[in-house]
Amino acid sequence: MDASSVLENVLTGMAELFGVDGAALMLLDGHDRLRAVGATDDAGVMLESAQERAGDGPAMESAARGGLVAIRDLHASSPTGFPDVAAHALPVRAVLSIPLIEDSELIGVLDFYTRAGRDWDSATRQTGSRLGELLVIVLQVLAESRTDIASPGQC
């Protein structure tokens, strides 16, 4: 099983564990840009792609602040929502963006999302943070996976 398949299974498992509609991952590339890496469904891909194109959105804000960003309704007017991003990710309403930190350095952002608006209470935010910690460990294991890294075109 390659890194993509492992990540696919882990994201799906985390969304299930968290009880949300989907999970999406953006990681910093070699040029310190957040890049859309994967999502559990089309809505997640749209969310990440819209943020990557706009250079804005909850994941971007989470990366900039190094903290959690909880959005009740992405379609709401700024500053509570991100209407420009929402316009290209219509199915997505609520988003919880969790910064992924490894050794005090940001490596990416994990987004959980739902298709209905919702509040993210403190207990839910804490659970999200723990899942972020877990994903960092998974990414470290994948990074140590020599076979995946050695052949970038292979996946």
Partner: protein, 250 residues
């Protein structure tokens, strides 16, 4: 972007993933699967709010041995099951299914356990960890009071165990299976050295097992050393040697 669709609806951009993983790999040496597993188990009880958690893995003869526990109480749970060959986690492994106990101290299924358990180990749940569909160990959690486990609890534990399985799969991609097995075997072996060192400290300083374990861990942390190395030094012997990669574990 080049997203590819997985077996379900999941979509991953392999090129972006590999670029980011390559960045992550820079300037860091591999820490080894056992270290990652320990961290994952430490996250599990903070995630669910349990009193503690642990991992047990099976040896070649299918005997479960404890690999890691988040505290002394959890350690007693795994040690008691390894010693008696019975308990919720042993049953979870043998039956390849989730097994729970509202209060393991009064559970008639495992009469040999209570006398070996820390008194604060009460509600226990174990779920199998599988590789290629075959159970290879268990993820165990406990509560320090009797606990009525709900189906949602075991579903969440199964999902978490599934993440652990994915980590094992990824590690197997990184290292040949034999090396992974060596690392796990090494971890299982060095626990014996730690157990012996705890017994030594208990006898010498009139400590409880919990005090001895906590003290050993603290001293290892303060001196930035592996617990297993410190334990071996206390016993005046060399720790178990990992032939495959001595830097990977501990």
């Amino acid at each position: 972007m080049g997203f590819t669709r997985g077996y379900g609806m999941t979509q991953i951009d392999p090129e972006a993933l590999v670029a980011s993983l390559r960045r992550l790999q820079k300037d860091r040496s591999a820490t080894g699967i056992v270290h990652h597993l320990e961290r994952i188990v430490q996250v599990v009880d903070r995630l669910f709010g349990y009193s503690g958690a642990g991992l047990m893995f099976a040896e070649e003869d299918r005997t479960l041995r404890y690999l890691f526990a988040t505290d002394e109480r959890g350690r007693s749970l795994e040690r008691a099951q390894a010693a008696t060959g019975q308990g919720p986690c042993v049953a979870a492994y043998a039956g390849d299914t989730a097994v729970t106990s509202v209060d393991v101290r009064g559970d008639v299924r495992w009469p040999g356990l209570p006398e070996l358990l820390h008194p604060e180990v009460r509600g226990v749940a174990g779920v199998p960890i599988r590789l290629n569909g075959v159970p290879v160990g268990t993820l165990n959690v406990y509560q320090d009071t009797p606990h009525e486990w709900q189906e949602s609890d075991t579903q969440a534990l199964h999902a978490y165990a599934h993440v652990i399985e994915q980590v094992l799969v990824a590690a197997m991609e990184a290292d040949e299976k034999a090396v992974l097995a060596d690392q796990l075997q090494y971890a299982l072996d060095y626990r014996i050295v730690i157990e012996r060192a705890i017994g030594y400290l208990m006898g010498k300083h009139d400590l409880t097992a919990s005090q001895a374990f906590t003290g050993l861990r603290k001293q290892a942390r303060d001196s930035r050393r592996k617990v297993s190395d410190l334990a071996a030094e206390l016993l005046g012997e060399q720790g178990p040697r990992n032939v495959a990669n001595p830097d990977h574990v501990g």
